[in-house]
Symmetry: C2
Subunit: 685 residues, 2 copies
């Protein structure tokens, strides 16, 4: 193990990071100086001595990944990115937390060069880090060959007490231990302070013991404020452990250097002018705001040059790999670029109405089985509901540590355990790594457990596909504890999230097609437990527009718009209404998000004026008024029982919907006047 060689620039660099972070927060008059002041030394040791990175090409594939799970400490990250030469100027630092700046209040991936994942909501970054490590292990197992250790980076995560209290981090940590992710190194800023005050108030567990119980190596650094050699040695030792993730418990003083150091007063409030002045004096810096000496810039430039040289070497290795393994090479290049293979869509199953009725979870399994051979970038998994979600392709190998004898890291199926939130955060990390399209699964109702991760997926543009089965009261006997009511509208209202409820086989294929093409949008595929007939009017092409007329009628008296398992019930109602002389069109609207992106002309042809539109869904009606005049659904919790009986209880049957439809038609006749589509609006936002 190499040992720490001090450099002249170390102290001044650390002092500069501290002073800059304090300046950044004070200028914004908003933000968190405490953790940056405390973690500046470990950040410096990590970036100056260990991180493989190229600031001039922040997307170099084999770079080490850095995650700031305690994202409120982002002044630290922004300062580092600036000093190292990423696309972040001093002016950007000065615009910290200002509107439309590159330095928002918490780090946002895709927004700021060099930020790997979006953090701030506590615990998420920890989970992302596990995902980044999973992705590295997987791609290494798939692509590395003797002499070609192409993919061998480490993932480093900074975390605070807050993240470690969060269940999402606990879940991810337990799985990381099980998966023996030796490439994951988490540095825990053990500063004994959270917002409420001393951690003695609420967080007195033995963190080291807990992580050892998860199967982690735990190392300690007693003086994280100044003992650079100890920090160095801990990281070096962590890198040597190949079969366990490592937690480095680093004792620091929050707000080190401030008059308020060691108190929660310094956690989330800017330092006062005199405090900053004293701090700079203490560290031997000039009394100047946003000051960086040439020596510090010089030291940082060297780090960048070292990284650039490493990338050059790596590119040379990649060229040799291209010679020796041309097919693997082109596959790796394709996957790094995120391109799908040509003609992959041809593998999507299609159906006619003569095909047997099947549950859409089963249709999903058929689709995954058809896609797995052509899309090796699919890395699936379930939160311990594999046999219910039907997400494991037959013959696929588990992603497992080889020593378990249960699979290996090249395997494409992850056993997430009953850890929905951790699964979501890990999947975000897997996608952030690149080269992989993760899909994850649980019951739709329990996607809500992972809401924190799902919203970050959508905010950051992670292409994560949720296979969310058992999606309404149609799951039957498990009852209201498991029956989503509010869930669909929750996710439909989430920006940049495609929530799909396919009605049959073609719609299921369409949902997968659009989800797989949407590189920057997560999708939730809400699927039925019960069998659904294949519709006469469906096709992949039509459904891929998010909404379409599945049963056309001219001069209709009524349109029923529905989604998922209720579309066939709407069709039953239409048949009954037709026999009573009420001409009824049926529109299937499997995905609001995608439908809303269609041209106004198209949308107004689908949901046209002229007759009332009734929505039907076995969920809360909330939100449907956007697409309909009248809404039928559930206004209460569901019930436990065989699913047909539960549907009957809530009136979601062809015959009851026919009765409702008739009421709607009569009501609008009485009202008189033209019936205008709800899509006709005074303005658009």
């Amino acid at each position: 193990m190499s040992s720490f060689i001090p450099a002249q620039s170390d102290d001044v660099s650390i002092a500069t990071i501290r002073a800059l972070a304090a300046d950044v927060v004070t200028k914004a008059n908003s933000g968190h100086p405490g953790a940056p002041l405390g973690m500046a030394p470990v950040a410096w040791v990590l970036f100056s001595r260990f991180m493989n990175l190229n600031p001039k090409n922040s997307k170099w594939f084999n770079r080490d990944r850095f995650v700031l799970s305690n994202g409120h400490a982002c002044a630290l990250q922004y300062v580092l990115l600036h000093l190292l030469g990423y696309k972040l100027s001093m002016d950007d630092l000065k615009a910290f937390r200002q509107l439309d700046s590159l330095t928002p209040g918490h780090p946002e991936a895709g927004h700021t060069d060099g930020v790997e994942v979006t953090t701030g909501p506590l615990g998420q970054g920890f989970g992302n880090g596990v995902g980044l490590a999973v992705a590295q292990a997987h791609l290494a197992a798939v692509f590395n060959r003797p002499g070609f250790d192409l993919i061998n980076n480490y993932t480093y995560v900074f975390t605070g007490d807050g993240c470690l209290m969060e269940g999402v981090a606990s879940e991810a940590a337990s799985l990381a231990g099980h998966l023996q992710l030796g490439n994951l190194i988490v540095i825990y800023d053990d500063n004994h302070i959270s917002i409420d005050g001393d951690t003695n108030l609420a967080f007195t567990e033995n963190v080291a013991g807990r992580f050892q119980s998860y199967g982690w190596q735990v190392l300690r650094v007693k003086n994280g404020d100044t003992d650079l050699p100890a920090i160095f040695e801990a990281i070096a030792e962590a890198k040597l452990e190949k079969n366990k993730p490592t937690l480095i418990q680093l004792t620091t003083t929050i707000g080190f250097g401030s008059k308020q150091q060691g108190t929660h007063g310094v956690h989330g409030s800017p330092l006062k002018a005199d405090d900053i002045r004293a701090l700079k004096a203490k560290f031997g810096l000039p009394d100047q705001s946003f000051y960086v000496s040439p020596a510090v810039y010089g030291a940082c430039a060297e780090i960048g040059q070292r990284g650039a040289a490493t990338e050059v070497q790596w590119n040379a290795l990649l060229s040799q790999y291209a010679q020796k393994y041309p097919e693997l090479h082109s596959e790796l290049v394709r996957r790094i670029a995120g391109d799908l293979p040509q003609n992959w869509e041809k593998a999507l199953p299609t159906y006619t109405s003569k095909d047997a009725a099947q549950a859409s979870r089963k249709l999903s399994e058929i689709t995954l089985t058809a896609l797995a051979p052509v899309l090796p970038e699919l890395l699936g998994g379930s939160a311990d509901l594999t046999s219910s979600n039907l997400t494991k392709v037959k013959g696929s190998v588990d992603f497992q540590p080889p020593s378990t004898g249960l699979g290996d890291y090249s395997g494409t199926y992850i056993r997430y355990g009953v850890r929905e939130h951790g699964m979501g955060a890990i999947a975000n990390g897997i996608h952030a790594y690149g080269g992989i399209i993760p899909y994850v699964s649980t019951f739709l109702n329990f996607v809500s457990y992972a809401a924190g991760a799902v919203r970050l997926s959508a905010l950051s543009g992670h292409q994560v596909i949720w296979v969310a089965t058992h999606d309404t009261i149609g799951l039957g006997e498990d009852g209201p504890t498991h029956q989503p009511i509010e869930t669909a509208i929750h996710f439909r209202a989430t920006p940049n999230l495609a929530f799909w409820r396919p009605a049959d086989g073609n719609e299921t294929s369409a949902a997968y097609m659009v989800a797989l093409k949407s590189k920057k949008t997560p999708s939730i595929l809400s699927l039925s437990r019960q069998n659904l007939p294949n519709l006469e009017g469906s096709s992949i092409e039509k459904a891929s527009r998010g909404g379409y007329v599945v049963h056309e009628v001219e001069r209709e008296d009524l349109t029923i718009v529905s989604a998922g398992s209720e579309v066939s019930i709407a069709l039953e109602a239409a048949a009954k209404l037709a026999s009573g002389g009420i001409r009824t069109r049926i529109v299937s609207l499997p995905c609001w998000f995608v439908f809303d992106q269609q041209s106004e002309d198209y949308r107004l042809r689908v949901l046209r004026s002229g007759a009332p539109i009734l929505s039907l869904e076995a969920l809360s009606t909330a939100g449907w008024a956007k697409y309909s005049h009248e809404q039928y659904g559930l206004s209460s919790w569901g019930a436990s029982g065989p699913y047909q009986k539960v549907y009957e209880k809530f009136g979601i049957t062809g015959s009851n919907i026919a009765v409702i439809g008739k009421k709607v038609v009569e009501f609008y006749k009485q009202q008189g006047g033209p019936v205008v589509s709800p899509l006709v609006k005074a303005f658009t936002v």
Copy 2:
């Protein structure tokens, strides 16, 4: 420590529980026989030797609480409840998982006599158990007196591997250890099987080590299948430890007695007829369905009699207490009954428009400060955001183990740590105990972390009040990672959940008033970080109807309906519109749930026909079409910056809304014809 005295009825009782549970699942052809077969011995030892309960009065206040966190094993619970003489007949058992039966697919509190909390969604029951234990500790500290150990029950939780993988349980467990809850005993069914198969697939952590790290006592029973004395001794030992919660790691064989025992095949599928026959033969029972021998009923009746006698003793003690401590006694009786003190509402602050603008989180603090002296049943807390949520009443004492020196169990403020989901589940448990109204707090955005607990709160009717601050882009600098967009509609679409967005002081008081009166409904109070003016047209009475006209105008051209921090912006817009000759009414709609309960006549007066209605909210517009013709809000994520700038960016200012309002008026003029209120509907569900 007493030791186990075997009874003749033990073996046959355990065999009967196993056989009945198998019968129940097989008759339903749906359910989970595995855990009931495995946990029948521990259930029998616990209920026959330890539990203080009175089946004839399942609400006896000092009963021991039993929680089946692995709620899918409910056949076990239903069988026990039946045998012990709760209001659950053999016919009810035969109706397992049938529509409208008393034996739904997972246990539902308030639905089935003797079920303390609703479980099934994994990890929730564990958190509820911690809450039940917190409540016991608190009420004991408040009401017990020397010689009057009135409140001294234990809480017993059954849990499986699934619950222990969930982050919500990890959070609750860590806090329970910190809180030194010696009255909490969790029995972990360590059967090595989850749905995906052997726990080796995903759950290889050292559970005992983890719980010891949390500060728990961990005991082990190696043979939970047959070793009744060892089970007995473990529970007895657990009861002796007064300063730590105990986890009893009980090794069992899932599906014990079935041909498929020890495999995941027996987890969630009914036993076949021949398997049940063999099982009954093995246990010496007749080949008969739903058979209970008189001996077993007799043994169970004895348990009930023992419990009834204990209650008689307790009532006697309570009478003596009434003599010695009349005031405490009447207070305890009041709180057990769940009655609020007379005239408590008089403590609610009221405001006029001359009062200074304040953030609604601050108004909430003022309200809590005013209420705390009159409503001692308020037991508050925050997920480590106390200084932001403003939820700690000045001078209040922390709920802490006395040994910490930081408070004591009579304290009314819980430091939950950064554990939102655990906090939600714990609060549900606290409310389930009785005598306490829990309120909890975090940023609105992070209530989503607790979505799983919130929905169970609403499903079970737990009066939990969420103080959810920082509720829109109005939080400013923290940025889109912290700014709710989809959150309001998520909770508005949840049945039996009152989601409030008060616009000013009177509305904040109204929200608290209604929330505190709603004994069976949870409430989320969505509150601003930024200051809000006190409105001229608001009052507690008006706002308590969920929606009202805050600015009336005759023969209006436009109504703007809004909520929370945007109401004052709507009023600004109305003033601008008025100066341009457009007569604009303003409706404040702080709580959809409460407004929807008002008479049709009232609602149609508030949101009347005759002029277009425009909704305004700095959140997703999803759902607002129910109350308006046109909707203004956010269709994307927010942004980091000073809040006024962020509002401007998204056009949520008086002047821009005036422009939009004008467009709406012109649009509807062009359309011609009468404008009908969106509340006028063809049918009601």
